[in-house]
Subunit: 425 residues, 2 copies
Amino acid sequence: MNILIKDVAALLPDGTTPTLNIAIVDDRILSMGDVPHDFHADKTIDGTRHFAIPGLVNAHTHASMTLLRSYADDMKLMDWLQTMIWPIEAKLHSDDIYWGAMLAAVEMIRSGTTAFADMYGPDMDRVAEVTEVSGLRGVLARGLIGVAPDADKKLEENAALYETYHGAADGRITVMFGPHALYTCPPDYLKKIAQRAQQLGAEIHIHMSETVGEVESCLKDYGKRPFAHVESTGLFENGTIAAHCVHLDDEDFSIIKKHNIRIAHNPGSNMKLASGIAPVPRMLKEGICVALGTDGASSNNNLDMLDEVQLSALLHKVDTLDPLAVPALTAVKMGTEYGAQALSLKDVGQLVPGQKADIALFSMHGAEWTPCYNPVSLLAYSGKSSSVDTVIVNGKILMENRELKTLDEERILYEAQRTADRLTK
Amino acid sequence: MNILIKDVAALLPDGTTPTLNIAIVDDRILSMGDVPHDFHADKTIDGTRHFAIPGLVNAHTHASMTLLRSYADDMKLMDWLQTMIWPIEAKLHSDDIYWGAMLAAVEMIRSGTTAFADMYGPDMDRVAEVTEVSGLRGVLARGLIGVAPDADKKLEENAALYETYHGAADGRITVMFGPHALYTCPPDYLKKIAQRAQQLGAEIHIHMSETVGEVESCLKDYGKRPFAHVESTGLFENGTIAAHCVHLDDEDFSIIKKHNIRIAHNPGSNMKLASGIAPVPRMLKEGICVALGTDGASSNNNLDMLDEVQLSALLHKVDTLDPLAVPALTAVKMGTEYGAQALSLKDVGQLVPGQKADIALFSMHGAEWTPCYNPVSLLAYSGKSSSVDTVIVNGKILMENRELKTLDEERILYEAQRTADRLTK
């Protein structure tokens, strides 16, 4: 379908926000500016008083965990995991994974997210199903726990997920391998994952250096810090997104740069779980690709990427006592362009002719967008994801005027609550 | 008018959230629970799938500065003030103060704020006018700058504001004195303010210990830290809200406790301006009243109090590396009950029979509120102010189903943008 977005303020890669027309043909942006003479729109969207940005990219989440939102908060990490999260996760069925991911899809589309990197399981085929149906772009990984009795089975599930879904849904679904973390995956298991991923040409999505405890126990158990330890297993040879990366030293930085590891920074989760503050200004200065993620909804507790953009813009200023740290445009790019890079999404992340048409349209009609001296500042410091009214992914409209086009929202909210009721009965 | 809110989940002072009926007679809550037999409702609001909380209290803002939202961001403080903020503020007319405060009122009502403490000027009578018309509760102070040539005139304006408006609009308007800060008010001026406020029985609203620079220059100029210095002028004898209080030592804590000084914590502003992180967990532990404020929209950049609740719940966890610091209920109370205490609002801040009917109703129909295991957690960590659909102040409905009842929103947004265009022409 040919779509024309008329007279919209559009965020260009250089940070300027000219008012122009965006012409979309099939899954791609044809032009930005004047409408080409031979372009015929099947659908025209009035972009007046709207701000078009590349769709937000959630570079680290566990979508089905939205089912656990508000179930257990304000607890110490091990208490939280052992007495609340793990017991309830053990009760999840395949349909629960499905409705949890559906709930996540509703929340993501409503808040302007067009792509997400998910690590969870079992039954990641149900998340693939949700990705296919919802119209979102999904980078899926089966969470791999090497200390589990069925570790090898999990690894084969991840390989099967890759073989079945990598490149599926018109290329909207890609698959990575998802070793959970070095403290749940012994070195031999990490080596097996590295080899299996390499055979298939798959990349890796892993939690790294989230807490001080993780770094300390790695040093104690393996005589190395996390990055050096995992590097020695060959896991970083395949291309890697490392979530969190809160506690880094100079050697960690060298390894990250050597392997072009992309980082998914999760400020909301790191703050709520009191994990610490990642050295994001240094990462950016050293040219590392830093994306943003929400983490799961039981440690955030929402999937609102604009919150993460705003937190990243605020947190690093106060942490470094530098009001120029992570300025507005950088925070927005972490949530969009750098996110697409981090997930190896080809031709995604910028509003530029030739790129995939993944676009979030914010209505600027509201007090928090008024007056408008600078749309990028408004987006980073004042705007709300609730003002996203239209979302396009791969040239297809997933939400228009806040109406979801691909999902049955009432049914999904109902099933999610029903599942929660059953899980806690 | 008698209002009945039926079958609503209501946040009680003990943190429980039973589903009940709230009966309102005139400006007060008559009952919470079963509807009294002899109660006749003129208006019934369906509270199903809604969460009623005491209205949010913005304990520190500069309402008319919403006109400068997104005008100047990502700058160093003195650059920002000297090259951008002060020059544009010098161009503000009386009507600009009015439309700026009107824009703030729209934003506050829409996001569930029912009371605000404002420090600005000149023309604070225009802000009083906005408070009267909007139906909000306002605690107004004329900002006093002692180093200005018209310092005494400003002081008399503050006294006149008190005499004209303290207790006005059915008691919704109260007035305080607003010495800006110790670095803009020499000691003799602070003494004059203290005396004038004492004559009238007025309280004080002042910025205190916001930056390291303020503490250092106070030590250099007066040989004392800010709290000891200001205490010596007698200013704290009158009852005080101190905004920010980021940099405190043990002596500061003693002075704060000795004079029962209430603190307006502004996490968003402190983060954006890189001022530092206030020792809020210690304040709470020592029994100090800690409220929340947004500060002005040029240093935040919105007036969304739920953002401040959420930031306060997140920031102190990561700062102290304690996931139990500032739990959900405490953060919500800082934004509501403690805010009302801090502003000396009588019978405001709790959903309890006999209290003033200042209520924000959140629709819980949406993905970010699903599933609902714990409404307080949802509010503090996941909910959005955009789900506030009904707001009542002093028993009067200011917004119903997201429609503003007292303000002409379209006109206000138009006039605010027109003013901004004129100011930057």
